[in-house]
C-alpha cells in the first residue's frame, strides 16, 4: 500500500489529469484508505489508493479542486492532511463535538451535543476577513428569500461591488454516505434518489450502474433505452426550468411563467407514461422496476415534441430581448483557467471552454450506441450558460425522439443475487454534470457508497464568477450555475 505524497497522473499527451473525486474508505481490516479518481481522457477512469492510516499530504495547492474532498475525508474519517491550505471543518458545523468522525463510529449512534464551553470561540468557523476603508461584510443565509435550499454566503463588498465571496454549506448534510452502509444492495437506489431530488433519476441510474459494474450484470436493451429517455427527459425538465428561473431573476415574468408551464407539461406527461413526475422509483439494479404505459407512448412522444418546439420559440424570444441580453451578457464570467483548476463539470464547464461530457467521453448504457452533439462555448458568462442549456435541451429532445422511435421490445430487468463481494463505479452526465458513484458491497449489503456530485465539484468555483460583479447580480449568477445544495451536502 503506497503512502506519502500522491503523484498526480497525466494523460498520454502529458497534460495533468482532471480530478474526479477523492474519498475515504475502511477496508476489510478496518484500515483507512484514500481513493483518488482521475479522468485521463480514456473511456474508463483512473483510480489509485493510498494508505490513510498515515497522514496523506495535501495536493490542494497544485490541484485546488482537491481542497473540499480533503476537508471531507478529514471530517468523515479523521485522516490527517498535512499541508492543506484550508483545514477548517467542512461537514461538521460548530454544534458537532470536536474529534467526531462519523465513518469511524459503528451503528447510528448520534454524537453528543457539545457543551457551551466547547462551542465557544475556539470552535468558531473563521471566514476570511477583508479589511479596508468602505468595505462592508454582508452575511446571507442559511435561510434565503424564496423557495430554495439553505446555505451561507459571506460577501465583502465595496459599494455594490463584490470584492470577496466565501461559501459555507453543508447545512443539509444528512450523513447519506454512512446511511448507505448496511443497507440492502437492491434497496440502495431509493436512498440515491434522495440525494438530490430534482436529479433523482440520474442518481438512481448512477447508483444502479455502479452495482451492475460490481456484479457484472448486463441490463436488457429495453431498460437501457428507457434509462436514456429518462435521463434526457430529466435534463430537458431541468434546463427548461432553469431558463425560466433565469428570466424570473431578471424580472421577465411572462417568459418565466411560460417556461414553468412547459416544465409542468413535461412532468405531467412523465406521470402519464411512467407513473411518476420525476422518474422516482423507476430504476433498480439490473434494470427498471416499472415499464412504460404502451398506450401513452404516442402521447409522450407528441408532448415532448410539442413542448420542445414551444420552448425553442420561447428561447429565441428570450435571447433576443434587449433587457435580458443586458443582464446576461458579461455577468458572472467564470474564466477557463479557474474552471480547470476547480475541475468544474457539466453545463458550467462547457460554457467556460472545457469540452467534457460523460455521455460522449465515458459512454454508458444507451449512449454507447448514440451519436451526440455536445454544445460548447468559451464566454463563461450567464448568457453562455443559458445558451448551453437551451442547446442541450434541443439535443435531449432529439435523443428522446430517436430512442422512443426505436424502443426495443423485451425484458426490462436482469434478475441477479448480489451476494458476492464486489466493487464498482459508474458515472452519469446528470443535468448538472458528471455524477460519479463508487459502490462496494458484500453479502447483499452495501459496505461503502461514495457519491461525487457535480454540485460538490462546482460550488467552490462559483465565488470566482461573482467577484467583481454587483451584489444584486448574485442571485442571477448563482441561478445560472444552478447547483444543488443537498447534492453537495449529502
Amino acid at each position: 500500500m503506497p503512502s506519502g505524497h500522491f503523484q498526480i497522473p497525466e494523460t498520454k499527451d502529458g497534460k495533468r489529469g482532471r480530478l474526479v473525486t477523492i474519498f475515504g474508505r475502511l477496508n476489510e481490516e478496518g484500515k483507512k484508505r484514500v481513493h483518488y479518481v482521475f479522468d485521463l481522457e480514456k473511456p474508463d477512469y483512473f483510480e489509485s489508493v493510498l494508505d490513510g492510516e498515515q497522514p496523506v499530504p495535501s495536493i490542494a495547492v497544485s490541484v485546488p479542486a482537491a481542497c473540499w474532498y480533503e476537508r471531507e475525508i478529514h471530517d468523515q474519517f479523521g485522516i490527517e492532511i498535512p499541508g492543506s491550505p484550508d483545514s477548517r471543518p467542512l461537514l461538521s458545523h460548530e454544534n458537532w463535538p470536536a474529534g467526531f468522525h462519523p465513518m469511524l463510529t459503528p451503528g447510528v449512534e448520534r454524537a453528543p451535543w457539545p457543551s457551551a464551553s466547547e462551542r465557544s470561540s475556539a470552535n468558531e468557523y473563521r471566514f476570511l476577513k477583508v479589511e479596508g476603508a468602505g468595505i462592508v461584510e454582508v452575511a446571507v443565509g442559511p435561510v434565503h428569500a424564496g423557495i430554495i435550499e439553505p446555505g451561507h454566503f459571506r460577501f465583502s463588498v465595496v459599494g455594490d461591488t463584490v470584492l470577496h465571496l466565501e461559501l459555507r454549506h453543508f447545512y443539509t448534510h444528512k450523513g447519506t454516505e454512512k446511511l448507505f452502509q448496511g443497507r440492502p444492495v437492491m434497496a440502495g437506489s431509493m436512498l440515491a434518489e434522495s440525494v438530490s431530488g430534482d436529479n433523482c433519476f440520474s442518481h438512481a441510474v448512477a447508483y444502479c450502474q455502479a452495482v451492475e459494474a460490481a456484479f457484472g450484470v448486463s441490463v436488457p436493451l429495453r431498460a437501457e433505452a428507457l434509462r436514456l429517455i429518462g435521463l434526457e427527459c430529466e435534463r430537458l425538465i431541468a434546463h427548461v426550468g432553469d431558463v425560466g428561473a433565469l428570466c424570473n431573476d431578471v424580472g421577465f415574468s411572462v417568459a418565466a411563467a411560460r417556461a414553468a408551464g412547459l416544465k409542468e407539461d413535461l412532468l405531467q406527461v412523465s406521470t402519464r407514461w411512467i407513473g411518476t413526475r420525476y422518474w422516482r422509483g423507476v430504476s433498480v439494479p439490473g434494470g427498471l422496476r416499472a415499464d412504460v404505459s404502451a398506450a401513452a407512448t404516442a402521447d409522450f412522444a407528441r408532448t415532448i415534441d410539442e413542448t420542445a418546439r414551444r420552448f425553442a420559440e420561447l428561447a429565441k424570444v428570450i435571447l433576443g430581448t434587449p433587457s435580458v441580453q443586458n443582464r446576461f451578457d458579461t455577468a458572472g464570467v467564470l474564466k477557463r483557467q479557474v474552471a480547470r483548476d476547480f475541475a468544474v463539470v457539466g453545463p458550467v464547464a462547457r460554457a467556460s471552454g472545457i469540452d467534457i461530457d460523460v455521455r460522449r467521453d465515458h459512454p454508458y448504457g444507451g449512449y454507447s450506441r448514440s451519436e451526440l452533439k455536445v454544445p460548447f462555448t468559451h464566454y463563461g458568462d450567464v448568457m453562455a450558460r443559458a445558451r448551453i442549456r437551451i442547446e442541450e435541451a434541443a439535443e435531449s429532445t432529439r435523443l428522446i425522439q430517436q430512442a422512443v422511435g426505436y424502443l426495443p421490445e423485451g425484458e426490462i430487468s436482469t434478475p441477479f443475487e448480489p451476494d458476492q463481494k464486489g466493487q464498482g463505479h459508474s458515472a452519469v452526465e446528470s443535468p448538472r454534470g458528471e455524477l460519479f458513484y463508487w459502490v462496494e458491497a458484500g453479502g447483499g449489503l452495501i459496505t461503502r457508497c461514495h457519491i461525487k456530485s457535480p454540485s460538490f465539484q462546482n460550488w467552490p468555483a462559483l465565488p470566482f464568477a461573482v467577484v467583481g460583479n454587483v451584489i444584486a447580480d448574485f442571485p442571477l449568477i448563482n441561478k445560472s450555475f444552478n447547483l444543488s445544495y443537498s447534492g453537495c451536502d449529502r
Binding site: H93, E149, Y171, H173, K178, M190, A260, E313, T321
Partner: protein, 271 residues
C-alpha cells in the same frame, strides 16, 4: 420581442387546473392503498417486511393482528405493491393531506380486512372551496434539510397550472411577513438552530405545516446520525402533508385543508 411573448401567452389556452380536480388527486405520488378484501396475514407480513421506512407494520392488539399503515412514513417506493399486489395497489384518490399526525395512520384488522376507525378520526376533505376564497395568506417555505424534491414540487405551485395565488395565497421572502411556515426535510443537525430562529421570527398567530415523508417522520433519513428529527421535534406543527415528494395537487389540497381546520372562518362553519 416581449410583446410577442405576451401575445402568445394570451393566445394560449389557460392551463389552470380547477380546484375540484386537485383536491383528492394524487396522480404521480405513488402512494399505496390497501384492498381490505385481499388483506391476508401473509400479504401483511410480506409487505411490512420489505417496507424500507417501517410505514407498514403488523402489530398485535388484544390478541388480534392489525396492519398499521403510516402515510407519514411512506416514501411511495412501491415495494408493498410488488410483494403483495393483490392487497396493495396505487391509490388513485388520497385525502390524507393537511391533517393531524394521528390522522395519517390507518389500521386494518388482519385477515378480516375491516378498517379500525378511531372514534375521533372524522378527517375528511370537504371541498368547500368558496369559504376559502377571499382571504390572503402568506407562506414562507423553509428547507430544514430536504433533498430538494419537495422544493421542486412547491415551486410548481406558482406555475400557471396550479397558480396558488388564485386562493389569495402567496410565497413571501421573509418569515416576518409570513402567516404559515411550510417546512420540508428532516431537520438536520446543522439546520436545527436556523429552523428554531426562523419559527421565532414568524409573528403570531402562525401555522406550521410539515411537508414530505422527511418533514413528517424523517422518511428514509430516520436512521441518520446527522439528523435531529422530524419538524415536530424542533417546532410545533399544525398540519402534515405526506408524500415523497407530495405532488403539487396534494400540496394545494393540504394547504387548503390546514386553513380549513385552523382559521376562524372555517371554525365558525363547523357544527
Amino acid at each position: 420581442m416581449i410583446l410577442d411573448v405576451i401575445k402568445n401567452s394570451l393566445a394560449a389556452p389557460s392551463r389552470l387546473i380547477p380546484v375540484e380536480a386537485l383536491v383528492g388527486n394524487c396522480q404521480g405520488s405513488r402512494m399505496p392503498e390497501v384492498r381490505p378484501a385481499a388483506l391476508t396475514t401473509a400479504a401483511a407480513h410480506l409487505a411490512a417486511e420489505v417496507c424500507p421506512t417501517a410505514a407498514l407494520a403488523v402489530e398485535r392488539r388484544d390478541e388480534r393482528l392489525q396492519l398499521k399503515l403510516d402515510y407519514g412514513k411512506c416514501i411511495g417506493c412501491g415495494r408493498c405493491m410488488e410483494v403483495a399486489p393483490e392487497a396493495f395497489v396505487r391509490a388513485d384518490r388520497f385525502a390524507f393531506v393537511g391533517v393531524s399526525r394521528e390522522a395519517l395512520i390507518r389500521y386494518w384488522e388482519v385477515p378480516a380486512g375491516t378498517e379500525i376507525v378511531a372514534a375521533n378520526a372524522s378527517e375528511s376533505v370537504r371541498a368547500e372551496i368558496n369559504t376559502l376564497m377571499g382571504r390572503a395568506l402568506n407562506i414562507r417555505q423553509l428547507d430544514a434539510g430536504s433533498c430538494n424534491g419537495c422544493e421542486a414540487e412547491i415551486s410548481a405551485l406558482t406555475n400557471p397550472h396550479y397558480d396558488l395565488e388564485r386562493f389569495g395565497i402567496h410565497f413571501v421572502a421573509s418569515p416576518k411577513h409570513a402567516d404559515l411556515l411550510l417546512v420540508t426535510g428532516p431537520v438536520t443537525r446543522n439546520m436545527a438552530e436556523a429552523v428554531r430562529k426562523t419559527y421565532e421570527a414568524v409573528p403570531e398567530p402562525r401555522l406550521v405545516v410539515a411537508v414530505g415523508a422527511c418533514g413528517v417522520s424523517c422518511g428514509i433519513f430516520a436512521q441518520s446520525h446527522a439528523v435531529v428529527g422530524p419538524v415536530s421535534a424542533v417546532i410545533p406543527v399544525d398540519g402534515y402533508i405526506p408524500g415523497c415528494p407530495p405532488t403539487p395537487a396534494m400540496l394545494v389540497a393540504g394547504i387548503l385543508r390546514v386553513l380549513e381546520r385552523h382559521t376562524p372562518l372555517a371554525k365558525r362553519k363547523q357544527p
